[in-house]
């Protein structure tokens, strides 16, 4: 058993309620921080821990906190990003639904570190029942004196509220989230200025993922150094992985960073192998936006080392033979799944979710979806594959926010690793006319029909 930091108490009956949570050592970090530590010491502790943003980008959380503008004298805010919408990712919801007080505790301690007196949890509108759970939990915490004026007699005031979105993936981007929190359309802002200088209502703001904030209590209760001992190298601590697709035990798992992908996939403690006897074909390690990897690059990196669940190992080999840990959305495909169809599906997602503000993303995502839709439905042309590569390269890096990159990467990776499958779709339209085309006849059995071999 590896160490659990976030989910160790998840099975305690009634842990959802304040009383049980408190009885199990809950809110200890708030007491410790407010009574014995200065805000800067809390930031320092988080810095030492090496905790990296769990939303996808993996930016060191302590560093992000230290950027917040404390000199201007403007009110500061902490906003928790619970707008979890990345396909393949559902870890934050699990955490908030089953142990809501952990997030609230983290919010209080983190707000104290940042000197924020008004903080928000921005949750996606679809998680309406979780919104209600959090609202109740906040009321409980408030009744117990952990929120409001002069918390625990320390002189620190904090109001914490939940704010709900209404169905927009783009609001997971921190500046779009802030716009949405201000009651506007979720259009990402142009950076700079960064939120740490001018965020919510032009005040200095830090936006952190749920999992990042939920890790703070443990770091404060123990120490940053203890947290840094878990994991490997710059990938410290534990990470929640949401597993879906063709695996035996899909769900949310907490792993110590550094676990091998093979063990995670196959041990009974975790995914328990594939859901049926169909073999593994591909996997996406970090939510839909990160590059897909073919079977031969999953357990071993290109130079033959074991692939580990760390930021570094998963991106080993760059995009040519690697991927990214991203938000930890682990999607597994067996050989009945069609990569082209999957790529089209993701492309449709990004087309649907593009905010429409900047031209490359607005026009490019729609174009890619249309081309992929044609290929998937037997109307592809040979030149379409290169066209797709060209479109994605024109979007990548040229947009305001990372959604453009997120839309471009999966397409590039799918073509990079599964080009022959695209060619098959184009050359044998009659064979792919039903959407379950690889179920009875996996691609491996018809691969010979496509002449040119690719990696």
């Amino acid at each position: 058993m590896s160490q659990k930091i976030l989910l160790d108490k998840i099975n305690v009956p009634g842990i959802k309620t304040y009383d049980v949570y408190r009885a199990n050592g809950g809110y200890a970090s708030v007491e410790k921080a407010l009574k014995t530590l200065t805000p800067d010491e809390v930031v320092e502790e988080v810095k030492t821990s090496g905790l990296r943003g769990r939303g996808g980008a993996g930016f060191p959380a302590g560093m992000k906190w230290s950027f917040i503008d404390k000199k201007s004298g403007k009110p500061r805010h902490l906003v928790c990003n619970a707008d979890e919408s990345e396909p393949g990712t559902f870890k934050d919801r699990y955490l908030m639904e089953f142990i809501p007080h952990l997030l609230i505790e983290g919010m209080i301690t983190s707000s104290y570190a940042l000197g924020a007196n008004l903080s928000y949890i921005y949750i996606r509108g679809e998680y309406m029942w979780v919104y209600k759970i959090l609202e109740r939990a906040i009321n409980e915490a408030k009744a117990a004196g952990f929120l409001g004026k002069n918390i625990l007699g320390s002189g620190f005031d904090l109001e914490l509220y939940v704010h709900c979105g209404a169905g927009a993936y783009i609001c997971g981007e921190e500046t779009a989230l802030i716009e949405s929190l201000e009651g506007k359309r979720g259009n990402p802002r142009i950076k700079p200025p960064f939120p740490a200088i001018s965020g919510l209502w032009s005040n200095p703001t830090v936006v952190n993922n749920v999992e990042t904030i939920a890790a703070v209590p443990w770091i404060i209760n123990n120490s940053g150094a203890d947290y840094a001992k878990i994991g490997i190298g710059r990938s410290t601590g534990t990470k929640l992985i949401s597993a879906s697709g063709h695996v035996k035990n899909p769900g949310v798992y907490e792993i110590e960073l550094g676990l091998s992908v093979y063990e995670f996939m196959n041990s009974d403690e975790y995914l328990g192998g594939m859901s049926s006897d169909r073999p593994l074909k591909a996997f996406v390690p970090g939510g839909s936006s990160v590059p897909v990897l073919p079977a031969n690059l999953i357990y071993k990196t290109a130079n033959g080392e074991d692939r580990l669940m760390t930021y570094e190992s998963l991106s080993d080999g760059g995009f040519a033979t690697g991927s990214m840990l991203g938000s930890g959305g682990f999607i597994v495909y067996n050989d009945t799944s069609c990569i082209v169809r999957n790529t089209w599906n993701f492309s449709r997602f990004y087309h649907h979710e593009s905010c429409g503000q900047c031209s490359p993303c607005r026009e490019g995502t729609g174009w890619m979806e249309k081309v992929l839709h044609r290929i998937e439905n037997g109307h592809g042309r040979e030149e379409d594959i290169d066209l797709l590569l060209s479109i994605q390269s024109k979007i990548e890096g040229n947009t305001i926010c990372p959604l453009g990159d997120a839309a471009a990467w999966p397409v590039a990776a799918a073509i990079r690793h599964f080009r022959d499958e695209f060619e098959y779709h184009i050359r044998f339209p009659e064979k792919i006319k039903n959407r379950d085309h690889f179920v009875a006849e996996p691609f491996s059995t018809v691969k010979h029909l496509v002449g040119i071999q690719t990696v």
């Binding site: 506007k184 697709g245 905010c355 959407r435």
Partner: protein, 176 residues
């Protein structure tokens, strides 16, 4: 753009107004606009799950912003419906991880059973079936959203049961 006008009875009850005021109080006094999204959710839930122009104008009045600011926001977010929908809105997640586990087939089955095409409402106004993008329940696929809640690990039998429950008024849509 295409906007058809349907009548809608507007009824901002006292309890709804209290809830709206509570939501507005979550934000600094000069930032009432911030409450727009949660308020729209509340108002929509209380008005048959859709927002007519009149209702949006009413919200603009309550929040003290221009009507166009409400229209812009409502049209941006997918959870706000701008035309009437069925009492029970089956929102199937149709993004890849769900599709790997048969979401498309199940949605087809539901549509066939109810006699509608995706996006349509049954003639009695009871059911709407729509395909939506990732709902964040990839590991529990296939799944759908119904009201405030998720129905997960679905199969044909569960769909049958669910439809029967809806018809017998046994489904709670909102957690108030």
């Amino acid at each position: 753009m295409e906007r058809t006008f349907h009548p809608q009875e507007i009824n901002i009850t006292e309890s709804l107004m209290n809830r709206i005021n509570e939501l507005i109080s979550h934000y600094p006094e000069d930032k009432r606009k911030s409450a727009l999204l949660p308020v729209l959710h509340e108002v929509q839930d209380a008005h048959d799950n859709w927002l007519s122009l009149e209702l949006m104008n009413k919200v603009a009045e309550i929040i003290q912003i221009k009507p166009i600011e409400v229209y812009e926001v409502v049209s941006f977010y997918t959870m706000y419906n701008q035309k009437p929908v069925g009492k029970y809105m089956f929102e199937f997640c149709t993004t890849s991880p769900c599709c790997l586990n048969g979401a498309e087939d199940l949605m087809d089955y539901t549509c066939e059973k109810l006699g509608v095409e995706p996006g349509e409402t049954t003639a009695d106004g009871n059911f709407t079936v729509v395909g939506v993008q990732c709902l964040g329940a990839c590991g529990y696929a296939p799944m759908m959203q119904l009201g405030d809640f998720y129905k997960e690990h679905l199969n044909k039998e569960k769909i049958d049961l669910l439809i029967a429950d809806c018809k017998n008024d046994k489904i709670i849509l909102h957690d108030k």
